[in-house]
Amino acid sequence: MQAHRWVQPSVLPGFGLTLGFTGAFLAAIVLIPIAALVLKGASLPFSEFWRIATEPRALASYRLTFGASLLAASLNAVFGFIIAWTLVRYSFPGRRLVDAIIDLPFALPTAVSGIALATVFAPQGWLGRWLAPLGIQVAYTWIGVVVALTLIGLPFVVRSVQPALAEVDKTLEEAAESLGASAWTSFRRVILPAVAPSLATGFALALARAIGEYGSVIFIAGNLPMRTEITPLLIVIKLEQFDYLGAAALGLVMLMMSFLMLLTINALQGWRARRATGRGR
């Protein structure tokens, strides 16, 4: 009898090797650059750091970046779910085509999508033309930022929810139906809880991607300081002015906030998962 093993036995040997790779890879690609950022930011005296981080222009950019990202990720959670549902539950001509189109925002250079969106939503653009008389201006406002972030985040939600939805056992719905549940009740109480973890993952990924997005937003946002300027752009502006410390300070703030948000989402999900799979056996 072995008392306690923290290495789970596996069919394939090579725990040492794979853990080594994991460590080295993460270090080279993720940890070392982040550490450099943290070190750079930490070289500022705290009062100076605080001053840069809480400048009115910086605060406005946080509001826009995180607000628009949350809104975009939420929109994606709703509409991405509906798209995934349509793709999984129905078969219609052109389904594969639609399925392929979902991934386009992954592949398209973000600048291209930004320019395309700006063209379409400009007051004379194909869609902007119809929205302008209604008093809705999309391009060069915060709405444009949300639209751009929604576009680039969509595939994350669809691709996370799709497999989970396909896995939802049809008999669960049939059981709910035979027990007298309405379609809405069985959706709310049976299907949604079953795909909730994947939906949360998709939401988190879309959110993370939106917070870091730069390329597409700068073409449609108009980049007015205090109004439509996102934090990543502010960082680039600081870099162009050779204000490396200022850029590092803003970067650090973003890093911490993103980290906190993702950690919260993951923790919530972990708690849910533990509840659903049970404590015993």
Partner: protein, 601 residues
Amino acid sequence: MSISLEQVSKHYDGAAAISDVSADIADGEFFVLLGPSGSGKSTLLRAIAGLTTIDRGRIVLHGRDVTHVSAREREVGIVFQNYALFKHMSVADNIEFALRARGVRAAERRRRREELLELVALPGLGERLPAELSGGQQQRVAVARALAHEPRVLLLDEPFGALDARIREDLRRAIRQIQRTVGITAILVTHDQEEAFTMADRIGVMDRGRLQETDEPRVLYSRPRTRFVATFLGAANVLLGRHEQEGVRIGHSLFEPSPFGRPSRGAEATVVIRPEDLALGQGEAVVGAEPLGRGKVEGLEFVGVLERVRLSVAASTALASAQHPDAKQFLLEASRSAREAELAPLQTGQNVSIGVKRVHVLPTPIGSLRMLAASSERIEQLAASPVIRELAARMHVRPVGRVVDGDAPIDVLGGLPVVEIERDQGLAAPMRLLEIGAHQVLGIADSRRPIDRLLIYVQPTRSAREAALGAAATLLRHLAVDATLLVPAHQRRSLGGSSYRDLLDLRHSALRGYGVDVRTESFDGLLAEAIRNRAHGERATLLLLGVTSNASARGLLEELGPALALDPPAAALIVRGTSVSGAEGASIPYVRQPAAASAFR
């Protein structure tokens, strides 16, 4: 009646998943649908639950027609094989789900939940999550959940499939107990015959989308009506005997004749003998059993409570394998108790005499398929036709071919002779065989298309009707086809009965006497027209004609001749009635007593 199914049919992509299933299930009955996978039993259960729509027919639950009522309003409880519990909800929430959906108050819900947990012997586990319970416990929760809204029907879809043997047995008993306590009507779907035998009040055996037979477990085992049920429920030797003037000859013994019709002398009788009904003796005869013949021990298998003996036996005209009708030698399976085996040990290679304690003659008129043609190529062509292939596969018969020049030899006429129908010849070839003594002939005109409809016409005599319905029953059980019985409108009038009543009577006697359901249609005008209108077109039709005598057959064919000669149906089966007695609608007894020693059993 708690549940009534009336000619329920369901097709998936043109293939029949359920064909004309009719059944009545009584209040509080535990009914088991038994069948191999793909037999349509689960589809039928889902149709009753309302989870699948049906194409035709009616489903009535407690006098209420629910054919077009959604699952949520049918008030049935379902238990699925994979439990289908809501994983993110506690056991209590799972059980209360149906009550919540109906807006039942919290206090009442709690009371009901406690009651149900008590009923399924899981008190105090309400707060657990399903994943914290064992498989058997989860299935008990599923049962409690299905009963929460007090449905009047409980449907169980292979509920023990995913469980260990031991737990399965406990749960079987528990569910039966719960069902009795609650007094609910239950239908269980399974492919496990032991499960069906131990739980069922009645079993409905399904195969190929058809309810093959429905009866109490004991009756189904000892007096099956079909080869399928005989071989699906336990081991069975299926043999061919002979109908003779005095009775049914099987090997060296003669058994009482069949009272449900008197097939022509020399016709084959399909006989089922269970291994435990064979007795083996080392001397000339076996004490306490009718002699069957002699055989050689080919193999012995000791399996604890009994010993299985495989014997090879020489075939004769009154004793042949139904599976290989032309084999010179065939194998019989016998079983003896361990004690018998100990008292009179046998050795491989030893010659023994074989006796039989009990035989059961199947009511099917079709024992073997015997193809007759002028050359071996033609025989191969017949053998390759979908009708023959399907019948042979489903009946487990190897069709036998015989090259004939001129008239067929008499010895093949006992089974079902199969001949080719030549275009422009009409049904002349089958008729020739009837003339020389065959009592039934199958003619095949189109040897490429599979048959998908059976059209039946019967001359208005009891013997013709019985012969035709018997043959139809066999065909329907082995081919996935629809059946329509044609009744001429003028015939109804001449008999003085009301039309609807007469149609019902025919359908009823088919259902009761032969256990199959057919549709009935009446027609005005000429029979040839009626047949041609229906046998025409896309669907390949098998025309079944029940005739009274050779003379009346000739008359009928003259009437049909020109029309059918130009455009024959894909296949035609002519059966000639021979019965001289038999009360209308009398049920068919199956177990024969030996003619010589009727005191013996």
